[in-house]
C-alpha cells in the first residue's frame, strides 16, 4: 500500500546492516520511519534482502549505477522504473508480515533473470 509522504525532513537515513540483509532504520520521536537505499546495477540489487517492520512507514530510495532498471514487488504493490541520475522514492507502509519477492522487470541482459531480491516484513 502506498503511503502518503509528508514528513520527509524528520526522517533519519541510516540503514542498519545485519544478517546479510538490511534492516531499515531511522526514527525521530513520534515519527518513526524506515529508510532503505537500494542500488540497482546489472545484474543485482544492493542490498537484495531488506527487513522491514510491519506497520511502520517506509521510504525506499532506488538508484541505478548503470542503466534503466525496474523494481517490481507485485505483492506489495510496488513498482518503479529507475533511470540513471534520477533516484526514485517509494513510500509505503507494509501491513502484512511475510516475505515478498522483488525483481528487475526491465529486461537488462543475460543476467536479468537473476536480478531479484526479497523484502521480509516482521512483526
Amino acid at each position: 500500500m502506498r503511503h502518503s509522504w509528508r514528513r520527509r525532513a524528520a526522517f533519519a537515513t541510516a540503514a542498519l546492516a545485519f544478517a546479510g540483509g538490511v534492516a531499515a532504520g531511522g526514527s525521530t520521536e513520534g515519527s518513526e520511519v524506515q529508510t532503505v537505499k537500494v542500488m540497482a546495477k546489472r545484474f543485482d540489487f544492493t542490498p537484495d534482502e531488506i527487513t522491514l517492520k510491519k506497520g511502520v512507514p517506509v521510504d525506499l530510495e532506488l538508484t541505478t549505477a548503470d542503466r534503466v532498471h525496474g523494481f517490481y514487488a507485485p505483492k506489495l504493490n510496488l513498482h518503479a522504473e529507475v533511470k540513471p541520475g534520477e533516484p526514485v522514492h517509494l513510500r509505503f507502509t507494509p501491513e502484512t508480515a511475510g516475505t515478498f519477492l522483488f525483481q528487475c522487470d526491465m529486461f537488462c541482459g543475460e543476467g536479468h533473470e537473476d536480478m531479484n531480491g526479497k523484502i521480509v516484513v516482521v512483526e
Binding site: G70, Y72, A73, P74, K75, E81, T99, F100, L101, F102, Q103, D105, M106, F107, C108, G109, E110, H112, E113, D114, N116, K118
Partner: protein, 302 residues
Amino acid sequence: MTKGIDRRQFARLAGLGGVAFASGLFTHTGGGRAWAAGAEAAGDFYFVQMTDTHWGFSGDKINPEAKNTLRKAVAEVNGFAPAPDFIIFTGDLTHTTDDGNERRRRMTEFKSIVADLKVKTVRFMPGEHDASLDAGTAFKEMFGETHYAFDHKGVHFIALDNVSDPGASLGAAQLDWLKADLAKLDKKQPIVVFAHRPLFDLAADWDWATKDGKLAIDMLMPFEQVTVFYGHIHQEHHDMTGHIAHHAAMSLIFPQTAPHSVEKKAPVAWDPAHPFKGLGWRSVEADGKKASVTFTEHALKA
C-alpha cells in the same frame, strides 16, 4: 497417450503434467459447422509449437548439449509423418547478447538450422532474449513483424508481442490492433493466440506475466473458443482465465523450476542419467469442423 476431456474436466486438471490431452479449446461443437475464417475451408490439421530454443546459450551444468539440442529437435519433428501444416516458434529463438552483431549472427545460425524443417510454413515470434534489448529491431530484420494474425482452415490465429517492450507490456498500439482484428470476427470464431510470456499473472514476482495482458484477455473473453499457447517459463503448464485456456510448452534448452515451488526461480540442472529431461515440443491437432483440438507434449528423446 492421448486423453480426451471436456472443458470442465480440463479446468479441474489444470496444472496436470500430462502427456497429451484435449484442451478446453473448441469444445463448443456448433453443430459441426465449419468455422469459416478467410477463404480456407475448416478441417482437420495439426501444427507444431516449438519454443525457447535460446540458440547461443552455453552452460554445461544446465545443458552440455546446447549446440545439438535444436538440431535434435528439428530431426525429431521431421520424423513425424505427415508433416504439420505449419510450425511456430514462440520466442527466445536466441539467447540474448549485448552485441547487436552477435545477436544477428545467432539469428542467422538459428535460421540456418530450422531451415532443415520439412514443412512448408514456419512462423516466428520473438522472446525477450531476441527483442527486449533493441525493441525488436534485429528480429524484424531477420524474421519480419513481431505481431500478426492469420487464418488457417477455420481457425483464426493471433501472435502477440509482449517482449519488444523490455517492461513486458503489449502496449496501447498493439492492443488497438488486436481490438480491430477481433472486431472482424464472429463471437463463435475459434481463436488460437500465441504469446511468449503468459498473458495472465502466473507468477508476476518471477517475471512470468504481462503487465497489460489482462486487457488482451478481456478483449478475447467475449469469444466462445479461445486458447493461448505460450513459452517463456520453460515447462509445460496449464491454467484457465474464465473459459480461456493457457498452455505453456516445454523449452528446447533447459527446464525451469515450477512456479513458486522454490523461493527464486532457477534453471533445472542437467541430469546425466536422464539427458534432455524436461525438454520437448508440442503438436496441436485442430479440427475446425468438429470444433475440437487435442495437443500432445513430445519429450525430446534421450
